[in-house]
């Protein structure tokens, strides 16, 4: 498959499978929400280190996660790169272009924290998503009662089609390549891409209609039911443990002091 969904293969089992999928789905929220609310770069770095450790212990594909994360970096940079130019009062230096542009210390610090917060959040979510198989992910969604069942159904159908459509799109592009797509002018290529996109939209609509009809034939009424496991006491204990770790990081452990101490030791 050329475009893979960020899930584990169904046959790939390890000790994580013993933890209920719903719990593995909730855990990244427990880790991410505090550092999105509290503006503390040390907390972000600590959680990233903690999740890297979790990755290594759980034998998840850290490199695969990083490669997926790489694709997000340009978007995150786009969000953060202009922040130092307009937030803050203390000028760090001035860019002498036709109009002098100030780079502020506070803005730079804020941009760095924002960058780490977004990348950290993406990393945590990707880690826990890759710890789930596709069926576990759906099980988690269906167990989470906050999400309406029709929405879960739509997500399942959407996810089902992503790799199929990516593959068919690739085939169309390859077929175009074989007929010399790359040897024509830029505008002609753009036009070709436009045609492919248009064809894909129509094709996708037809296919989703077919899938909906096939589901209707098998009694689909808006709710998708699969067999599911029960949440055990051990699962709840794991959630409590993560909450405790987070509370400790926020209230009981002085992370700044620890990092400064480590820095002093290194220097």
């Amino acid at each position: 498959m050329d475009i893979e969904l960020p899930f584990k293969h169904e046959d790939e089992k390890n000790f994580l499978n013993k933890i209920h999928p719903l719990i593995r789905f909730i855990l990244p929220f427990i880790l991410v929400i505090p550092f999105l609310i509290i503006n503390d770069v040390y907390l972000v770095i600590t959680i990233i280190i903690f999740v890297i450790f979790f990755n290594l212990v759980s034998r998840l594909h850290l490199l695969k996660i990083f490669s997926k994360l790489k694709a997000l970096i340009p978007f995150i940079l786009l969000i953060t790169i202009f922040v130092p130019f307009y937030i803050g009062n203390t000028v760090l230096f001035q860019l002498n272009l036709e109009i002098p542009i100030n780079v502020y210390v506070e803005g730079l610090a804020y941009a760095l924290t924002l960058f780490f917060r977004i990348i950290g959040a993406a990393f945590v979510f990707l880690t826990f998503l890759t710890s789930l198989t596709y069926s576990e992910f759906i099980e988690a969604l269906t167990k989470l009662r906050a999400i309406p069942s029709f929405f879960v159904g739509s997500i399942i159908i959407m996810l089902h089609y992503i790799p199929i459509l990516a593959r068919s799109n690739k085939k169309v592009l390859e077929a175009q390549d074989l007929r010399g797509k790359n040897f024509t002018s830029y505008w002609q290529r753009l036009k070709t891409h436009g045609f492919i996109m248009g064809k894909n939209i129509v094709h996708n609509m037809e296919r989703s209609e077919m899938l909906y009809e096939s589901l209707k034939m098998r009694g689909f009424s808006g709710k998708i039911t699969f067999s599911s496991k029960k949440v055990k006491l051990a699962d709840i204990l794991i959630v409590m443990m993560f909450v405790f770790i987070m509370i400790s990081f926020i209230y009981f452990i002085n992370l700044e002091q620890i990092y400064m101490g480590v820095l002093q030791l290194l220097v």
């Binding site: 089902h160 077919m210 899938l211 034939m217 067999s227």
Partner: protein, 202 residues
């Protein structure tokens, strides 16, 4: 139209001695008796694993989980895919996907199976496997099989009855032998002999 997915522009449809009214309850009752196999299995398989997908229809029937599991096991065995219950549909070949989609219908124990081009894009080995399954279902489960095809071979050698549609109109209904020798049908569908003559031309 038989399963109520399309509305007829004119006329009425009678199936299992019932006039199709498109009432929701009636449609669901009829759909429990009719299994419709789509030509492209990717239009039918949607769940993360084959086992889950096959069990979907049975769960919608409101059966107990133990009965659902029993039926899933039976259906997968009927299509020789027992070992693939935990596999993802993406890991299966085209022929295997087609069989998995068929298992998804069998769990509902339909009386009538409608197959849309069931042998399209299959090699001889897969066609053989599929035919064997259909024959068993017909014999052991007493299922009626209605299939659409452009391949004259299957009409001539497998079908008991033949109905030819052209531009939405039925132009022939009767025995395959009579149909295939009918001059109008021959003109419309072509014939083996013509094909062989063309192939043998040097």
């Amino acid at each position: 139209m038989l399963v109520g997915l399309l509305k007829p522009k004119s006329g009425t449809i009678k199936i299992f001695n019932e006039l199709l009214t498109r009432d929701k309850k009636q449609l669901w009752r009829l759909r429990q008796k009719i299994g419709f196999l789509f030509q492209n299995p990717d239009d039918q398989l949607f769940a993360p694993t084959i086992g889950e997908d096959v069990g979907f229809g049975a769960r919608n029937l409101g059966l107990e989980e133990s009965e659902v599991n029993k039926r899933v096991e039976w259906a997968l065995e009927a299509v020789n895919l027992s070992q693939y219950a935990k596999s993802s549909p993406y890991d299966l070949s085209w022929g295997q996907k087609k069989r998995a989609a068929l298992a998804g219908l069998l769990v509902m124990k339909p009386k009538l199976l409608i197959l849309d081009e069931p042998f399209a894009n299959l090699d001889f080995k897969s066609i053989y496997n599929h035919l064997q399954i259909f024959k068993t279902l017909k014999k052991e489960q007493k299922m009626t099989i209605l299939f659409t095809t452009h391949n004259l071979f299957f009409i001539e050698n497998w079908a008991d009855k033949m109905l030819v549609l052209n531009d939405g109109t039925a132009i022939f209904e009767g025995l395959p032998n009579d149909g295939l020798n009918h001059p109008k049908i021959k003109q419309l569908l072509g014939s083996y002999k013509e094909l062989l003559t063309l192939i043998n031309q040097k």
